[in-house]
């Protein structure tokens, strides 16, 4: 293969290093107004009054909006008012919105709005939410409009309940000689994309609604605005330029709705709403939290026989995407291990926390922490090497998943091979703990992951190819360039298929829902697979059309023709042929007669054979394939003060085929970096009023330069047979194993079992009983 696998430079690289790459907030016009939110300072409170008369009279103010009379919104369950009225349910929830000529005028007016609250008791964790008779975040849960696969339980805080019942759990326990049981928890945290969310809306006199937004899901924005506000679908045109990082957080639809409402309130004038960092952390949806209980049973040889799992997801105040994450977690609830008897209850819980958006890995890194820590406890009890325990229980072709999908060589990667490679890379034989000095040791921890993508069973992706008169190609796909380089990879796939120079393929980066064929959402590491399939179909379409026109010109059967190097020619005599440039806009004979015409390629893909999960047993096929991986983390640990340094982090992922080497490694390292930050330091600290105490990058600290470990990334190549060139999704997987591996490394280092995230020195100190021993 000529182009596949090469580290082709990103198509938008030069724009990005010259400051010319444009993101939503870089679009600005003189007529554009600014919107500013007034947000709740409390986690749970009744709104007694909103006083905004003074604000309305301030210079530049054009409108002030509040929430009464707005329809309820929410993707799976309509439980969320775009602006809170009557009650606020989380710290940071939007209550009022000022529209003014400039950002500073809008802010000054927003500061003048006074709201009176009556504090309500706060549901501060999913476990609290789960207690019978507790405060209800949504007393009217039973009245909400819901999608088919939502199972809310009215009269409780359960927004959705997903069940897995596989095998016979009683039998499983009977076969188990050894059991372990453990609980884990962590609070919500944030995605921290460097570009805070931003949306612009304008409604033209003909009724067209123009939205520009930093989103992973512009086609969903279009659908939801139509559904919520009864606009004509075809009149909603959503544009997404480059997106400055997303990690799942921009798959939720929120600011778009507010921008639309703001524009509507000022007669359709363009209005921009841009989150401050604090709003991006508090008001916009966050990274989900979890309380988990895991029980594993194994026979005397350490073969897993039974698993009983309870996940209480901290969906926050509104269910939006958390309900889907709850389902995805149930589908892959055991981690990548073969277990015949599985009983899992995955609950999407309402709390008074910021509500959750998808987060890279879609609940898998989170559940993996609980599973992988429990496996280490089991290994300890069984006195088996934790790596061996994983290897012997690793999921294989021929096994079934918790939702009873029978796996084959194509639908699941080779986990044992990943584990073997991990063993070498992390130098497992050296031992899990190595003394460095009196005070410090090096310690290692490992973990494994798997993931399928539980996206809509009928999710589409489309591609259109047009030509320029010089024979170069324009590639249009609805995939958003969120930083993953997918559009460059698509160009590589096309270049490979047409055997042409990748520089002669021009990729349209911007997506607009009126002229770009739909790609469901740029999520779930599915861009390359789905858009790649659509693209290959479009490439075939182009080849077919070119050959049709070339056949009479070259006076040869279509079957005798070949396409390569931007030419169509005779297979047996390549010197006889026509260049693309002379044929893609019709072929003109010497006398002027022309045949053919403009060639436009089209291709589409729809996921196949995905089915809904059975509400009682979970049985069903939730996704197309499972990517697997094995991970290791090595830390240098200070035995006195419990501080540690990340030395090395390893990911070995079965990626099928490497499409772009540097881009793939970059994706994995970047995901590992986010995973280590999530595992080691990132969390929201809540007070008793449900307030997030650290909504700034000064107090909420992602990894910085130099705090990262050395990364070792390697790939196993088991092709997925129905994927473009066999490639599996890889955008998320580097993240999945980091919390488990770091948790295991530090538990081993400190000699205690760690059950919470983030894994801070303070947590280790507390777990070791430091509090009792402290005399200060």
């Amino acid at each position: 293969m000529k182009v596949i696998g090469k580290s082709v430079i990103r198509k938008e690289a030069f724009d990005k290093v010259n400051g010319r790459a444009l993101y939503t907030n870089d679009y600005h016009s003189v007529s554009m107004l600014s919107a500013k939110l007034v947000i709740s300072p409390y986690g749970h409170a009744r709104i007694i009054s909103i006083e905004y008369k003074d604000a309305l009279n301030m210079p530049g103010v054009r409108a002030i909006l509040t929430g009464a009379h707005l329809p309820l919104t929410g993707e799976s369950l309509r439980d969320r008012p775009p602006l809170a009225y009557d009650k606020v349910r989380y710290h940071g929830e939007a209550i009022a919105m000022v529209v003014a000529d400039t950002p500073s005028q809008a802010k000054n007016a927003a500061d003048r709005i006074t709201i009176q609250y009556e504090l309500l008791p706060v549901v501060n964790s999913p476990t609290e939410a789960f207690q019978p008779g507790t405060i209800l975040v949504h007393p009217k849960l039973g009245d909400y409009v819901k999608e088919q696969d939502m199972n809310p339980v009215p009269g409780t805080n359960i927004a959705s309940h997903v069940k897995i019942r596989k095998g016979n759990i009683e039998e499983g326990w009977k076969e188990s000689e050894t059991t372990v049981e453990a609980s884990f928890s962590f609070a919500p945290s944030d995605h921290v994309a460097m570009e805070t969310r931003c949306s612009i809306a304008e409604i033209s006199p003909d009724g067209n609604v123009h939205i520009m937004t930093s989103s992973q899901a512009p086609f969903m924005v279009k659908q939801l605005i139509a559904a919520y506000f009864h606009e004509d679908l075809g009149k909603i045109i959503v544009t997404t330029p480059l997106v400055g990082g997303a990690y799942g957080g921009k798959a939720s639809v929120q600011l778009e709705l507010l921008a639309y409402l703001a524009s509507k309130a000022v007669g359709g004038k363009p209005v921009k709403i841009l989150n401050t960092r604090e709003e991006d952390i508090l008001t916009s949806p966050c990274h989900i939290g979890l309380d988990a209980k895991i029980k594993f049973g194994a026979d005397q040889n350490g073969m897993l026989k039974a698993a009983e799992i309870q996940y209480l997801w901290d969906g926050g105040a509104y269910s939006d995407k958390a309900a889907d994450m709850t389902r995805a977690a149930a589908a892959d609830c055991t981690g990548p291990y073969h277990i015949d008897n599985v009983w899992c209850d995955s609950y999407c819980m309402y709390t008074n926390h910021p509500y959750a958006a998808p987060f890279r890995g879609f609940s898998h890194s989170e559940l993996s922490f609980a599973i992988e820590r429990t496996l280490n406890l089991l290994a300890e009890k069984l006195k088996i090497d934790p790596l061996e325990l994983r290897r012997q229980n690793a999921i294989l072709p021929g096994n079934t998943t918790p939702t009873q999908v029978l796996l084959n060589k194509s639908s699941v990667g080779n986990l044992p091979k990943c584990i073997d490679r991990l063993k070498e890379l992390i130098q497992w034989e050296e031992g899990q703990v190595v003394e460095v000095s009196d005070r410090t040791i090096r310690a290692k921890g490992i973990s494994c992951s798997w993931k399928t993508s539980t996206i809509e069973a009928n999710a589409p992706s489309g591609v259109i190819l047009t030509f320029n008169r010089d024979g170069s190609i324009n590639l249009m796909s609805g995939v958003i360039e969120i930083g993953t380089g997918t559009k460059t990879v698509l160009a590589q796939i096309l270049a490979e298929r047409l055997k042409m120079d990748v520089d002669k393929i021009h990729v349209r980066m911007e997506v607009d829902t009126q002229t770009t064929p739909e790609h469901w959402k740029t999520v779930a590491s599915r861009g390359t697979f789905m858009a790649g399939k659509a693209l290959l179909e479009a490439a075939e379409d182009v080849i077919k059309q070119i050959k049709e026109v070339a056949s009479p010109v070259l006076r040869a059967e279509k079957n005798d023709l070949e396409v390569a190097n931007s030419r169509v020619f005779l297979k047996d005599n390549p010197s006889i042929g026509v260049d693309f440039k002379d044929i893609v806009y019709g072929y003109q004979f010497p006398n002027g007669n022309s045949i053919g015409g403009q060639i436009i390629g089209r291709g589409n893909y729809i996921l196949r054979r995905i089915s809904r999960m059975n509400p009682e047993t979970g049985e069903g096929r939730p996704g197309p394939e499972w990517t697997v991986g094995a991970y290791g983390v090595e830390v240098e640990f200070d035995k006195i003060d419990y501080t540690y340094r990340l030395l090395r982090a390893v990911s070995v992922i079965d990626i099928g085929t490497v499409l772009n080497e540097k881009a793939a490694k970059g994706q994995v390292m970047g995901a590992m970096s986010i995973g280590l930050a999530f595992a080691g330091r990132e969390t929201f600290y809540f007070d008793e009023f449900g307030r997030v105490l650290n909504p700034q990058l000064r107090t909420y600290r992602p990894l910085r330069y130099g705090e990262n470990p050395e990364y070792l990334v390697d790939f196993v190549l088991t092709p997925q047979l129905d994927a473009p060139y066999g490639a599996r999704g890889v955008g998320e997987h580097g993240l999945l194993g980091m919390p488990g591996a770091l948790g295991n490394a530090l538990s081993t280092a400190a000699g205690v079992s760690l059950h919470h995230l983030p894994l801070t020195p303070e947590l280790i100190w507390r777990t070791k009983g430091g509090e009792e021993n402290a005399f200060l």
Partner: protein, 151 residues
């Protein structure tokens, strides 16, 4: 609201702009001069996405008022053309979404000018003021080191 008409020297061009006292340099570069390369990420000095170069030193433009920039030489990402560090970022895949990139490049560019012999410790000291959420920093390290080693 008090306004001032000031003269700014940006990318070797003289610009006259009217600003409020409270307008930051970042706001004026972006909204008045159309130089959107410098990005807002926190408006609080924490992320470095807004970094420009002022009289040869990196400066977080969200922390400087526009009126304070009078009489100083300001360079933004738009003022760099074909520099080795830009090329090195491309070759080393030192960005993904690219949002942090102008800030990182301006910081690296200043570092190369001020400390052409910077060692690892110096590089860390300078670059830890910027956040990149997409990469794991490995590629950024390779990019800056490839330029420093060349000199």
């Amino acid at each position: 609201m008090k306004t001032h008409t000031i003269v700014l020297n940006v990318n070797r061009e003289i610009h006259m702009v009217t600003v409020r006292s409270a307008d930051t340099l970042l706001y004026v570069l972006r909204s008045k001069l159309g130089l959107t390369g410098a990005k807002p990420g926190c408006l609080n000095g924490d992320c470095g996405a807004c970094t420009v170069n002022v009289d040869g030193w990196p400066m977080k433009s969200c922390l400087m008022l526009a009126v304070e920039a009078v009489g100083k030489k300001i360079t933004t990402i738009e003022g760099l053309k074909d520099t080795p560090i830009q090329q090195a970022f491309v070759e080393n895949f030192a960005f993904q979404c690219g949002y942090c990139t102008p800030g990182f490049i301006m910081n690296c560019h200043s570092l190369i000018e001020q400390h052409p012999d910077a060692d690892d410790e110096k590089i860390r000291e300078w670059l830890e003021s910027n956040i990149c959420r997409c990469t794991g920093y490995e590629e950024i390290k390779n990019a800056i080191k490839s330029v420093l080693n060349k000199d």
